[in-house]
Symmetry: C2
Subunit: 467 residues, 2 copies
């Protein structure tokens, strides 16, 4: 279903469409000592494009392979015909095939130095200007930025920083306020917990109890062996693995909350419809009536819903929780520099073990991993923090089930910086293809989004009339 | 009249006022490999400041020593009491005492790498946030950016890029459109020429003829010697100096056009009131009635008005045309990277020798001087080019006599991105102290500017009311 092309590095497995020459993008937009360039991959579809200035929907790529985001952003494909729109999916530098220094891009701190959101935004701005210059008929095309999650943050920021380049932005599930001193660090895990609480009797309570059960059972070697067997772990658990094992489980519940979609889907993992409800069926027992072994037996069944819905998984691997299409090292570097997003748990309002947000420990870990230290205050300075009212033409959509809505914009800021809340939606559900199981709230969100697009396009065309 | 303070490097010759600790500013805001910091100098006056949230007028420093700009921006001092405003003058990195690498800052391309407008804007944003955090009573203070010339460009861009940090900007004589493909490259020198044409009979005609006269006379050694004597040059002219000599004269006329103020002033040089009229008195003869020697005799008298109004100058130095407070090498580096401003002459609509804009030659010169090449298209991408209508709360003021108005915004873009034209004004006349000789057009410009300030301050206070 994806008609895609790459920029010359290599051909995508999709069908080529169009014949644009990739612009050479500066590796460093903000300095002139490093004057090298790289090829940024982008995918184009102009099947429905009105070549007389029809709009361009421009996906601002996230921390991963762009073809994967392209395939998981059906909304753009669904609305292209109605809008007469060209679709462009631009890959974020340092991910997928868009590697500024090829295989050396991740080799050391020096090569990683150009992996920042500001550089990525500049890439998108340069690419859009190049496309408009080079593609016949695109000179006057209004461009709308679209993205989800970190890609949604980039969409909003692209409109904020380059309003000359994009006429508006749809920022889906974009936690632009998940930075220090903007929102309470505990909200994220509270939402995860609520998702489980509402999806089955005792579900959150049993997960909250599981951590202590793991401590109890893992206290003996027999218990460790039992745990490894019960969870069908690929590598048997050692005492020193326990924190990692718990973190893996915690991330599993978080990921389930993100992809709690109303239909079968394969985003982070292949999953059934409303996967948390399926998970919670294994955790519905009365917490006072089960042993630690029975409790963890339920937990292992629950985890298998996430990791082995297809039944093809011979063992569970605690070193990974999601698709390989995401660039985890790159993202961790970004978290260790600009994308400082405090999260914390208290074990009371959430179902996790209490853990404070400890910036110093995080900074030290970043320093030992990458030789860099995060700058906690920079994102608020450069991207406006809570004070974004002077911008225009941005939609922030958020799903009520999505833990990342904790850092999202969920109320209207002005007439043209608006929020759309989708109570039954998980992580950027609105960006996915229409589906028969979609709740009406996401259908109406998509309708509103397209109405805003049309408004922005009309505004942009009016501005072009001389005088 | 200037109450100023520095940040700890050393004390200003003005009076210290306030006791703020200078924040350490990142040398590289856009990368994390270079994690060093430097001390940015800024000057503060809070004599008239209303400590209960009174506004801050923040001068975004240009390419030079901030104390000099502070002393030449009397407007801010004149309006401080009426507004209850704190005055802050922030020095631009790499100029004055704000040297990121101390004495090594200019040592090579590597050390110069952080001299960009984006870094400077980030410095200002960080400094403002720090001041608001640290200075008691400033937490809710609305900040207005003010600047002239390149500093005015920075003011406008600060509002465009960091609207969360400044509520509005006065960009005086800011040629934000003097970049490739935005305005005709010849307009600048046309305005210079018009200034001379209107200031005395035959004035532009005689200057236009002078270039050929210089060629004629300098063809012989005797002629060269005559020229050196006639102009009282500090170093006798050689054949190879001729292009430099002409460039020096050309820059002299340009500078006169910039500082053609209606009263005695000392900006680039100490000068009489309406200096071009004084210059033109020496160039009013009928062009057909004089010899080359007589013509150049007039030119040398005219040049002396600019270089020796005080009568203290024993000889004229063709390697310099203006105050030493400006950082010429730094500015030339900036021109060689981001600040690519095409200028050209045709000798018909202007009074100069025809010269095309030659980007390639310029780029090659930059490469040989600094080891960098300019990026002609970058400023348009990052700062919006002609398309700035989606921004708000920016005043662009321009003087009709100022050659830089060629690249300025001289018509209203929207209700809140507005232009003020001062027909009798030279380069940012509106930023200077009130003077009895001020034309009424600059007085009314200043009144309008303050009215906009008050509007922005009121808007900002309304936004702070909860709900």
């Amino acid at each position: 279903q994806v008609l895609a092309r790459t920029n010359g590095h290599s051909n995508n497995n999709g069908q080529s469409n169009g014949n644009h020459r990739a612009p050479l993008i500066q590796i460093d937009h903000f300095g002139f000592l490093e004057d090298g360039t790289f090829k940024q991959r982008y995918l184009v579809n102009n099947e429905h494009w009105d070549q007389k200035g029809g709009p361009i929907l421009f996906y601002t790529g996230n921390e991963g392979d762009i073809t994967w985001f392209c395939n998981n952003t059906g909304f753009m494909w669904d609305v292209a015909e109605d809008l007469g729109a060209m679709l462009v999916f631009a890959e974020h530098r340092y991910y997928g095939e868009s590697l500024p220094f090829g295989q050396d891009s991740y080799s050391d701190t020096k090569h990683l130095n150009y992996l920042t959101s500001e550089q990525a935004l500049a890439d998108f701005a340069v690419l859009i200007r190049e496309l408009k210059r080079k593609v016949l008929g695109a000179q006057e095309s209004p461009v709308i930025a679209i993205g989800g999650s970190y890609g949604g943050m980039l969409s909003a920021w692209l409109r904020m920083k380059y309003p000359n380049v994009v006429v508006g932005a749809l920022a889906a599930s974009a936690p632009i306020w998940q930075f220090p001193d903007m929102v309470p660090c505990g909200d994220f895990y509270k939402i995860v917990t609520q998702d489980f609480a509402r999806s089955g009797l005792n579900c959150d309570v049993n997960i909250r109890r599981s951590w202590k059960a793991i401590d109890n059972i893992s206290a003996t070697d027999d218990g460790l062996q039992w745990l490894s067997g019960e969870f069908s772990l690929c590598s048997p658990l050692k005492k020193t693995d326990l924190d990692g094992f718990k973190a893996w489980l915690q991330e599993t519940w978080v990921n389930l909350a993100m992809v709690d979609y109303p239909y079968e889907a394969n985003f982070l993992q292949p999953l059934p419809r409303w996967p948390i409800q399926v998970v919670c069926k294994h955790l519905s027992f009365d917490p006072s009536s089960v042993s630690d072994y029975q409790l963890l037996g339920g937990i292992s069944e629950a985890a298998r819903v996430y990791y082995n819905y297809t039944g093809n998984c011979p063992c569970l691997n605690t070193s990974s929780t999601a698709t390989g299409n995401l660039g985890f090292i790159g993202w961790y570097y970004q978290a260790c520099t600009e994308m400082v997003m405090p999260l914390c748990t208290d074990g009371v309002q959430d179902m996790f073990e209490p853990q404070d947000w400890n910036f110093q420990a995080f900074s030290d870990e970043c320093n030992s991993l990458f030789g860099v230290r995060p700058r906690a205050d920079w994102a608020a300075t450069v991207y406006g923090g809570l004070d974004i009212a002077s911008h225009s033409n941005i939609i922030f959509s958020n799903g009520g089930l999505d833990p990342w809505s904790s850092g999202g914009v969920t109320r209207n800021i002005s007439d043209s910086v608006v929020a759309i809340v989708i109570p039954d939606g998980a992580h950027h559900l609105d960006l996915r293809y229409n589906n028969e199981y979609d709740p009406h709230t996401v259908l109406s969100a998509r309708i509103q989004e397209v109405e805003y697009f049309k408004l922005w396009i009309t505004q942009a065309r009016k501005l072009q009339i001389p005088g």
